[in-house]
Assembly symmetry: C2
Homo-oligomer: 240 residues x 2
């Protein structure tokens, strides 16, 4: 059995907050747990917040804005290394981490104050590792950490939780060569367990109720890797 | 807290098996539970199995096969209403249900015997509804049912569980207009909870260990809808 437990009672996160300490005070962690933390809480603690008043929009940003705030579009263009699709003001872009997502991960909901937007962490794996190390020091428990965001998908409606950073986690479960119950070898069966864990956590985290973290207990995700392992290599990508 | 419980001890499913009865014998269901059942088990019980010996491959199928069994490619072409991308022998196609996935949902692993492939159910929502009705009759419990499959994604490595059929389930959680903790209205925030539930279930179901069903307890997914609600409407699809 797997349990998905919300970490409740966390305050609104601000720059400089010690997220590991805030979580350690509110959660009973056990060895082998997976802690999923919403990217936005981590980004805010790291000060990855841009004041729109400081942004000067370019002509490109004005064109993409289609009536919305061109400064927000400028931040998206600054975060993007490649625009994948645009339908102003909607922009699907590749971030410098390699993630393809709406608005290059720039988010204006849940921002700490009006007229600000929140960026993805600079190095989400490193953010996850810091949380993992901090929680090990504070609680003694050896856990895995996933930084989650909610991405849209091609062809499918709605967003689902995905892992954009991780530490102490095996992101993919490769069943290639494993035999199924009829004795046939499975091929090309690689399960993105880190994304499934992020999605399961989102079920208890919600978007609005101030639960930016959850613990998943009973699933052995221990291992190594990077959230970049979840990005399909360019040469195998049929949808670039 | 959400719990994800595997339904253990199910036999290999064959055509004509009463899946509801087999599950009712092995699971304690409670009102409000979500039962996630692997599509393949449902398809097999419904006889959605094709013997490759009965398939005559076309020239198109031979061309797409690239050395693999052209009869399997022929079944994929028969199931597809549109080819989205091909890199022989890999085919990403739209099924008649509107799902975009590898091999139009045709699966050759876990087939009941050699030289067969398994198709998606003809009407996966109806399959879910039959299971829901059967389990209500057998157990008295009013549950939601999701038929799950594991789909690849554009840009991301690995597959995740998705809902391809459902009954008694609200597939999408629409937070548009809801205010976040800072008082700002969330826009364009629709969470594909049915897919997140399918993904959470896959964590306990695995692919090879004969656990084709799981129960999710503690998440209120009650509502109405169709798995087709999870397909992005053509006019809003930037990736057709």
């Amino acid at each position: 059995m797997i349990q998905v437990l919300p970490v409740e009672g966390l305050p609104e996160i601000r720059e400089g907050d010690d997220l590991a300490a805030l979580i350690a005070e509110r959660a009973e962690l056990a060895d082998g747990d997976v802690l999923v933390v919403a990217q936005k809480a981590v980004s805010k603690s790291e000060g990855r917040v841009v004041r729109l008043a400081d942004v000067e929009p370019s002509d490109d940003a004005r064109e993409l804005a289609a009536g919305e705030d061109p400064r927000r579009l400028q931040v998206i263009l600054d975060e993007a290394v490649r625009l994948v699709r645009t339908r102003p003001p909607l922009v699907i872009a590749e971030t410098r981490h390699g993630f393809v997502c709406a608005s290059a991960g720039v988010d204006s909901s849940n921002a700490p104050e009006a007229e600000t937007v929140v960026l993805l962490p600079e190095d989400p794996d490193a953010s996850a590792q810091r949380l993992r190390d901090g929680l090990r020091e504070l609680t003694g428990s050896v856990i895995g950490v996933i930084l989650s965001d909610s991405f849209g998908r091609a062809w499918r409606q709605g967003t689902t939780g995905v892992a954009i950073g991780l530490a102490g986690i095996r992101p993919l479960l490769d069943l290639t060569g494993v035999r199924d119950s009829a004795g046939y070898e499975l091929h090309a069966t690689v399960i993105a367990v880190a994304d499934e864990l992020a999605g399961a956590a989102e079920l208890v985290m919600g978007k609005t109720d101030g639960v930016p973290a959850a613990i998943i207990r009973g699933y052995d995700a221990r291992g190594d890797g990077s959230a970049r392992d979840l990005v399909i290599p360019a040469e195998r990508d049929l949808f670039r």
